[in-house]
Amino acid sequence: MLSSMTTSFVARLRANDQAAWFELWETFGPVVRAQIMKWGNGRIGAETVRDLSQETMAALSNSIERYDPSRGARFSTWLLAIARHVLGDEMDRRMAAKRGGGKRGTSLEEAWMTTSGGVGVDEAYEAAVFRAKIEAAIRQVEKACEFTDFEIFRMRVLDGQSGKDVAAAVGVSEPTVSRRLAKVREMLRSRVAQTVATFSFTEEELAEGERNGLVQSPNKADDALFDEAVGEIFHRQMELRATGERGERF
């Protein structure tokens, strides 16, 4: 059963809400681009992959009408199917444009709706999709909280600086750093839960956060693990983005 956030987001996509499609592309674009590069196996240039824009994604919004959650597809699989369709469609359009004809209609394969998916997914891809969700949550937190608070979180968790250094840099006391960090952490926990719920179709996907150390009902010891997990996930995602932007495959 899909969560209300998922159904709401899917409804926006179905309504061809450009902002929703942009959000989807902003969040998962790097992962999808990397996967397309991988599929392309050198035949598709970085420029081509980069050109696959959110407008192209939005043009595919009709395909989402055929989504059937009861068939058990994962969100990541669904995304991949769209990516593959985008690629094929883009290639067809380019060839058609080259030929001078119009856009040739393509049909989305529906094998992805099943549990097996019908599309080749691997662990690296699944992990990248999960990391993209966490990155989206971090971005939301950046929007929601004060700049200084987020900077404290960034320096302390993402950059790994000590509480003392952070306090000196920002000009506050260490307890203040801890307090503000706790505030951002809580917000992040909440956003992670929301983001994962929004971009998950299956129970297994929903439980990915817990499996990766992002415990939702923590004790004091779990905070450190949470920070560590967030830091690691974030940096790995940054690596993926950097790799993708360099036009390499992951």
Binding site: Q18, K98, G100, E146, F147, F150, A169, E245
Partner: protein
């Protein structure tokens, strides 16, 4: 003890084996694996590119056919399109050929670095190369400018020329406050040169805004093209300069000197942005490539996307990825209007991205979350993040960010500065003294031009040039916004008059009622000048405000303007200080308005006329020309083959027919037969019986020949072959032969019947006797079944050669060539 030694030896042996494995075998296998991969990559690449070449050739041929086909049905644009596709295929094929013969072999030999230059740097340099140094004939020349060079075109479909203005233009610039102009850049858009109408409209829309900041010196819009002129700033872009600085610095990051230099450029950028924002403008395309470093100063160029901050237009997603705030894209997708957001903050985001790229020598791929891995002060990291953070939390103005950057740059040791010390954090942000002037689209047209100043030199000088300019602008805008006081004189008729100028009452109310009240024209003039001067200035401003674009689009606007001007003068003081009667002034104004309207209409008509048929450049391109060439070459080839074929078929009458006897031909027989056929001319076959070494030239004939032989059966194989050869040659010469020796004869009973009848007619007389000859001739004359009779008579007593007798009816031989019967006789006469 021995066991212990044995154990130690075994362990030692295992260790040695493990070390051997680790040190020698593993690298060896790795090397082998690398070599195999390398070879496979080479072979795979060669195969792949070979197939690509083949595919490209096939596709190119298909495109060439499409080009020709579309030309034939008069679809020029389509043929041009397919021509371009053809060019692309040829280009792809050429690249593949290069890889097959150079790229892959070089990589196989480990010479990747050798071909890197050709494969990467050359295409980059070619792409960045300036366009042609002179405008094309289609674009035409630019009056009062001498073109001296060109610059690489941008993404807006424009052509950029470096030019030197003549004395007239220089004087014009000087009058407008641009006294030190050397060379200028002419940015030209022409539909004929590939610019699109939306691009031209967008650029022209930003023109007025840029002009008011003194960024644009001159402009012109004609039916042929649109261009504007800016001051030329020679130098490299900040992107190139950044690469240079990083190349000269350690790998960890910029050296202290380079860092300060880079911060100086960013300061210059921020100062320029502050000036833009103070002037009510938003650059919208801030990126390293648009920042030119000249004499150590940063100059922001490219005004293609400049937008008034108070514009009523909807936000667009234009800009450059990584330097454009994703939030702006979200807002644009939601249909947010420009005046509903603070566009200056988007420029601040871009400035943060520029600072990031200067420090990191890369673009910020992750927006506000981008990591800075190079060596730099923590405060700069903070500044970058503050600039690129969420829309609501970033620096509110470029000035605030500038203060922070200046603080870091001016510090003794930037690495010792803490973020907490920054002016923006410590609450010491220096906000502008003067209020920021908000400029609306409609206000911009009425603004006087601001004296241009060097943006980087004008930075932190409160009350300096830019400030004064901004203040002047503020006063102008405030004056423009001042509303006249109206006094209604007739509620029913809607008439009213201005309280401070009752002369405009009545007919003059039309001007007010149309929303273009004379208010700005009265109040915009500089304070302390005479009224007449104010009027002249107001007139000049009007001319500036309503440019040629408006003229082309709305011919009546200028006429109305004249009317309003006249109305204003009617209510004020004449240029010479002499008042004229209002009616007379109105009359004159109407006449001028009518003349202007007529003139504008003429221009409109001319514009429409000139524009027709030129909307899209569908001329012959390389692909079209190449396709046509290939098609013509193919056509000529086919035609040539057909001609050669027809000549061959004409000459086919001179056929050489060789009748084999056994499996071998006599040496030279065929050659001699060919020569004989050639010599015989058209319509003649050269018949060669292998038994007869000399070829026999035989005309192509129509007739029926009966062959009778009295040879005893079974025939000798050699004799049989000879006779059958003779029959076959006659058949090939076009004769219809009745003979039991014929291979093609199907009805043997008919032949036997004929033979029997002729034998009865002969009546056992010797064939060489006159009676026999007469009897057979009579029989041929009476018989319709045959025209010629060949009778082969065995030698007496079986000795010697058989005799061949040929009989023909006179009718049958009519028209036959001379010597036909002897020829037949020779055909059956064995030689040697």
């Amino acid at each position: 003890m021995q066991v212990a030694f044995g154990f130690i030896a075994v362990v030692f042996g295992l260790l040695v084996a493990a070390m051997l494995l680790a040190v020698v075998l593993v690298p060896l296998f790795r090397g082998i694996g690398w070599l195999v991969r390398h070879l496979f990559a080479f072979v795979g690449g060669e195969i792949k590119d070979t197939l690509r070449v083949v595919g490209a050739v096939i596709t190119a041929l298909v495109f060439s056919l499409l080009v020709v086909g579309n030309i034939l049905i008069f679809r020029w644009s389509a043929s041009s399109h397919f021509g371009r596709a053809f060019s692309a295929e040829i280009s792809a094929g050429a690249s593949s050929i290069y890889r097959i013969f150079v790229g892959h072999p070089a990589r196989l030999l480990g010479l990747k670095s050798l071909v890197d230059g050709i494969e990467n740097r050359v295409p980059q340099a070619v792409a960045a190369a300036p366009t042609r140094d002179k405008p094309s004939r289609r674009t035409g020349q630019f009056e009062h400018y001498k073109i001296v060079g060109s610059l690489p075109g941008g993404g807006s479909g424009s052509k950029l020329y470096v030019a030197e203005p003549d004395d007239i233009k220089l004087a014009s610039f000087a009058r407008n406050g641009h006294g030190d102009i050397g060379q200028v850049v002419v940015k030209s858009f022409s539909l004929k040169d590939g610019s699109s109408l939306p691009q031209i409209v967008r650029e022209s829309r930003s023109l007025d805004a840029a002009k008011n900041l003194g960024l644009v010196l001159d402009h012109e819009l004609t039916p042929e093209r649109f261009y504007y002129v800016m001051e030329y700033m020679p130098g490299e872009s900040l992107g190139v300069e950044t690469q240079r600085m990083h190349a000269a610095s350690p790998a960890e990051g910029l050296s202290d000197a380079s860092l300060r230099r880079g911060l100086g450029y960013v300061e210059g950028l921020l100062a320029t942005l502050r000036r833009y924002h103070d002037g009510g403008l938003w650059h919208k395309d801030v990126k390293p490539d648009n920042i030119i470093i000249h004499d150590g100063d940063a100059h922001l160029v490219d005004f293609g996307l400049i937008t008034p901050l108070r514009s009523a237009m909807t936000l667009t997603t234009h800009g450059t990825e990584y330097f454009r705030d994703p939030e702006m894209v979200r807002m644009a997708l939601k249909g947010v209007k420009v005046h509903e957001v603070d566009g200056a903050r988007f420029d601040v985001y871009a400035a943060g991205a520029v600072l990031y790229s200067t420090i990191e020598n890369s673009f910020p791929a992750h927006g506000g979350l981008s990591r800075i891995s190079k060596r730099c002060p923590d405060t700069l990291r903070w500044i970058v993040r503050r600039a690129m953070t969420d829309y609501d939390k970033r620096y509110p103005t470029a000035a605030a960010m500038l203060a922070d950057v200046q603080y870091v740059r001016s510090a003794q040791d930037p690495f010792n500065v803490k973020p907490a010390e920054l002016p923006s954090v410590a609450g010491g942000i220096a906000e502008p003294n003067e209020p920021v002037v908000e400029v609306r689209d409609e206000d911009l047209a009425f603004m006087p031009p601001v004296q241009p100043t060097n943006p980087t030199k004008a930075v932190p000088t409160p009350g300096g040039g830019p400030r004064r300019a901004a203040a002047t602008m503020a006063a102008s805008v405030a004056a423009a916004r001042a509303k006249p006081k109206l006094k209604v004189t007739g509620w029913w008729s809607g008439k009213y008059k201005l309280e401070d100028d009752e002369k405009l009452a009545g007919k003059g109310s039309r001007a007010v009622a149309m929303g273009l009240a004379p208010k700005p024209f009265v109040r915009v003039g500089k304070f302390g000048t005479s009224v007449a001067e104010s009027l002249r200035e107001a007139d000049a401003m009007l001319d500036d405000a309503f440019g040629e674009i408006d003229d082309a689009i709305n011919g009546g606007a200028k006429a109305d303007r004249e009317f309003f001007r006249a109305a204003h003068r009617a209510g004020g003081v004449g240029a010479a200080g002499v008042r004229r009667p209002a009616a007379e002034q109105l009359e004159s104004a109407r006449a001028r308005a009518a003349a202007r309207r007529s003139s504008a209409q003429e221009r409109m008509n001319r514009h429409r006329h000139n524009r027709s048929g030129r909307k899209y450049a569908s001329g012959v391109n390389f692909g079209v020309a190449a396709s046509l060439f290939i098609f013509l070459a193919f056509g000529v080839g086919v035609a040539g083959l057909l001609v050669i074929g027809s000549i061959g078929s004409l000459k086919q009458n001179n056929t050489v027919t060789v009748q084999a006897n056994g499996d071998t031909y006599a040496d030279g027989v065929v050659a001699r037969a060919s020569a004989a056929a050639e010599a015989a001319g058209d319509g003649v076959s050269a018949l060669v019986n292998a038994e007869s070494p000399e070829p026999i030239a035989a005309p192509t004939l129509r007739g029926r020949v009966l062959v009778v032989d009295d040879l005893s059966r079974p025939l000798d194989a050699r004799v049989s072959a000879w006779l059958r050869g003779g029959v076959a040659l006659m058949e090939q010469a076009g004769l219809e032969v009745f003979s039991t020796l014929s291979d093609t004869q199907t009805d043997a009973a008919d032949v036997n019947e004929l033979v029997a009848r002729v034998k009865v007619a002969r009546a056992q007389q010797p064939l060489d006797s006159g009676k026999a000859r007469e009897a057979i001739s009579n029989w041929l004359h009476a018989e319709d079944s045959a025209d010629v009779l060949v009778w082969i008579d065995p030698a007496p007593a079986g000795e010697g050669q058989p005799a061949v007798y040929v009989f023909g009816s006179p009718e049958a031989l009519e028209g036959a060539p001379e010597g036909f019967l002897p020829m037949i006789e020779r055909l059956f006469s064995p030689q040697g």
